[in-house]
Amino acid sequence: MNVKIKYRVFKSKLIQVLIIALAFVCTLPLIAILVYIFKQGITKINWAFLTQLPKPVGEEGGGIVNALVGSVLIVFFASLIAIPISILCGVYLSENKNGKVAYWARLAVDVLQGVPSIVIGIAVYFWVVKPMGTFSAFSGSIALAVMMLPIMIRSTEETLKMIPDSLKEAGYALGLPYHKVILRVILPCSISGILSGILLSVARIAGETAPLLFTAFGNPYLNTNMGKPMQSLPLLIFNYATSPYDEWHDLAWGAALILLFTVLLLNIFTKLITKRWHVQL
C-alpha cells in the first residue's frame, strides 16, 4: 500500500512540474518578440525617423511621420465617436436590466465582439467608402469605433452596476431629474471604470490593421484631412514588412517597436488604474 501511495504522490508532483513548465514556456514567445523587436527597432529610431516621410524605394533613410500622425488622428476620432455612444449604451443597459430591447441590445453587443475585424472593415467599406467615393481616415475611424464599442459598453455597464442604488436615490431626493442624476451623480462616480474601458479599447484598436485595409487604406504622404486616405502604424508595418525592400523593412522595425511598446504601455497603465479603482470601491 505504502509503495502505491508513494507512486501516486510522485505522479502528482510530476504532473505539477509538467504543468508549471508548460505554463511558463508560454512566456518565452512573448519575451522573444519583445527582445527581437526592441533590438531591431531601437537603432532605427531617431528624430529623422519620427519626423520624415518614407523615402521612395532605393533611397536611404526616411521616416514614418505620416503613419504616426495618421494613427493618432484615426484613433482619436474613433474614440470621439465611440465614447459617447458606448457610455450612453452602457447607461441604458445598466438601467434596464430586463426588457426586450435591452436583451437584444446586449446580445448585439456580444455578437459584435466576436465579429472578425476584417468583416467590420468590409461593412464600413460599403457603408461609408463607397458612398463617399473615396477611401478616408474618417471611414477608418468609424470601423475602429465599431470595434471599440463592445469593450467599452461592457466595462461601462459593469462599472455602473456596481454603483449602489442609494446614490441614485440621493440624487432624486435632491430634486434632480433623471438625466442629471445619471450625468451629474452616477457617471462621475464611474469615471475610473469607464476610463479603463476606454484605455483598453484604445490599446486594442491602436494595433488593428484589417479594418483599415479598405477604409483608411494608407497614404505615402502626410495627410491630416479626415476625408482622404491616411496612413497608420499597423498599415505601414504590414505594407513595408511584406515588401521586398530592405529599407522598408528597417522602417517597419522602427514602427513595430513604437507600436508594440505603446500598446503594451497602455495595457500596463490601464491595469494600474483599475487596481486603484478597485481599492477605492
Binding site: I19, A21, L22, L93, V111, Y178, F238, A256
Partner: protein, 301 residues
C-alpha cells in the same frame, strides 16, 4: 417661489429628461441595427455570387479570378487546417496555464507575473506577430523543413498555425482559469478527505466539474483563430491552390479577402469574396454564441 418660472423650469426639465431617455433608447436600438446591418450588408453584397455560383462555390477547388472561375474550397480548407492545428497546439498550454492559475497557484507574485504575461500576449497587435513570424519563425521553420527533407518553403500552413497558436493561448487560458476557480472548495475537500492526491483531485473532481466551461474556452480560442487575418496572411504564402501538405503554402478566407479585396475589379469577384466574409461572420458568431451560452449556464448555476 415664482410659480411661472418654476413651472417653466420643470417643463424644460421634463422635456430634457424625455429627450435623454429617448437618446438612450435609440443608442440601444443603434447597436441592434449595427449588427443586423453588418449581416444584411454581407448578404446583399454576396447575392451576385450566391445567385450565379450557387452552393458548389463552397467546394469547388479552382480560384481563378482572371477567368472568372471561383471555388472557395482552398480557403475553407486553409482556414479549417490552420485553426484546428493552432487549437491542438495551443490547448495543452492554455490548459496548463488555467490549471496553474486556477488551482495550484491562484495568488502570489508568480501567478501575477504569469497572468500579466498571458494578458500581454493577447495585447500584441497581430501585424506584429505576423512581422515577427515572417522574419524570425519562417527561417526557423525553413531550417526544420530542410532537415526533414520537406520542401523548405518556410511559409505555409504549419507556420501560420504556429503563430496562431501563440495568439489564441490567452483566450482558452483565461476562460479556463475562471471556471477552475469556481469549483467549490467543499468538493475538493471531500476528495482530499478520502485520501486523494492533488493530481487526483484535479483529474477526478475539478476537470469533470469544469468540463463544459473548459470547452467554452476552447470555442472562444477557435472563434478568434478563425477570424485572424493579418498574422496569418503574412506567413501563409497566399496561394490560391489547394494546399498539398501542411508544410505547403495555402490561404485562409480572411487572408484572401485581405489580399484581393482591393483588386477585385468586377462584381462577381468582389461578391465571391464577400460571400467568404459572410461565411466567416456566421461561423464565428455561432461559435462565440455557443461559448457564451455555456458560460452563462455556469454562472447561473
Amino acid at each position: 417661489m415664482d410659480n411661472k418660472n418654476s413651472s417653466r423650469r420643470s417643463h424644460r426639465q421634463i422635456k430634457a429628461e424625455g429627450f435623454f431617455r429617448t437618446t438612450l433608447f435609440s443608442i440601444a436600438l443603434l447597436m441592434i441595427v449595427l449588427v443586423l446591418g453588418v449581416f444584411v450588408t454581407l448578404v446583399v453584397q454576396s447575392v451576385p455570387s450566391l445567385k450565379s455560383l450557387g452552393a458548389k462555390y463552397l467546394w469547388d477547388q479552382t480560384w481563378d479570378p482572371v477567368n472568372n472561375v471561383y471555388g472557395a474550397l482552398p480557403f475553407l480548407l486553409g482556414t479549417l487546417l490552420t485553426s484546428f492545428i493552432a487549437l491542438v497546439i495551443s490547448i495543452p498550454f492554455s490548459f496548463a496555464i488555467a490549471v496553474f492559475l486556477g488551482e495550484y497557484n491562484p495568488q502570489g507574485w508568480l501567478s501575477n507575473f504569469l497572468k500579466s504575461t498571458v494578458e500581454l500576449i493577447a495585447a500584441v497587435p497581430s501585424v506584429i506577430y505576423g512581422f515577427w513570424g515572417l522574419l524570425v519563425l519562417v527561417p526557423i521553420v525553413r531550417d526544420f523543413e530542410t532537415k526533414f527533407d520537406i520542401l523548405p518553403y518556410g511559409i505555409g500552413i504549419f507556420t501560420s498555425s504556429l503563430i496562431l497558436a501563440i495568439m489564441i493561448i490567452p483566450y482558452a487560458a483565461s476562460m479556463g482559469r475562471e471556471m477552475i476557480k469556481m469549483v467549490p472548495s467543499s468538493l475538493k475537500e471531500g476528495a482530499y478527505s478520502l485520501g486523494a492526491t492533488r493530481f487526483e483531485v484535479i483529474k477526478m473532481i475539478v476537470i469533470p466539474y469544469t468540463k463544459s466551461g473548459l470547452f467554452a474556452g476552447i470555442l472562444l480560442s477557435l472563434g478568434r483563430a478563425l477570424g485572424e487575418t493579418m498574422a496569418v496572411t503574412m506567413v501563409i504564402g497566399n496561394t490560391s491552390l489547394m494546399p498539398t501538405s501542411i508544410f505547403a503554402p495555402g490561404n485562409t478566407m480572411a487572408s484572401v479577402i485581405a489580399n484581393e479585396f482591393t483588386e477585385a475589379d468586377h462584381t462577381l469577384y468582389l461578391s465571391a469574396l464577400i460571400e467568404l466574409a459572410l461565411v466567416l461572420f456566421v461561423v464565428t458568431v455561432i461559435i462565440n454564441m455557443i461559448g457564451k451560452r455555456i458560460i452563462k449556464s455556469y454562472t447561473n448555476d
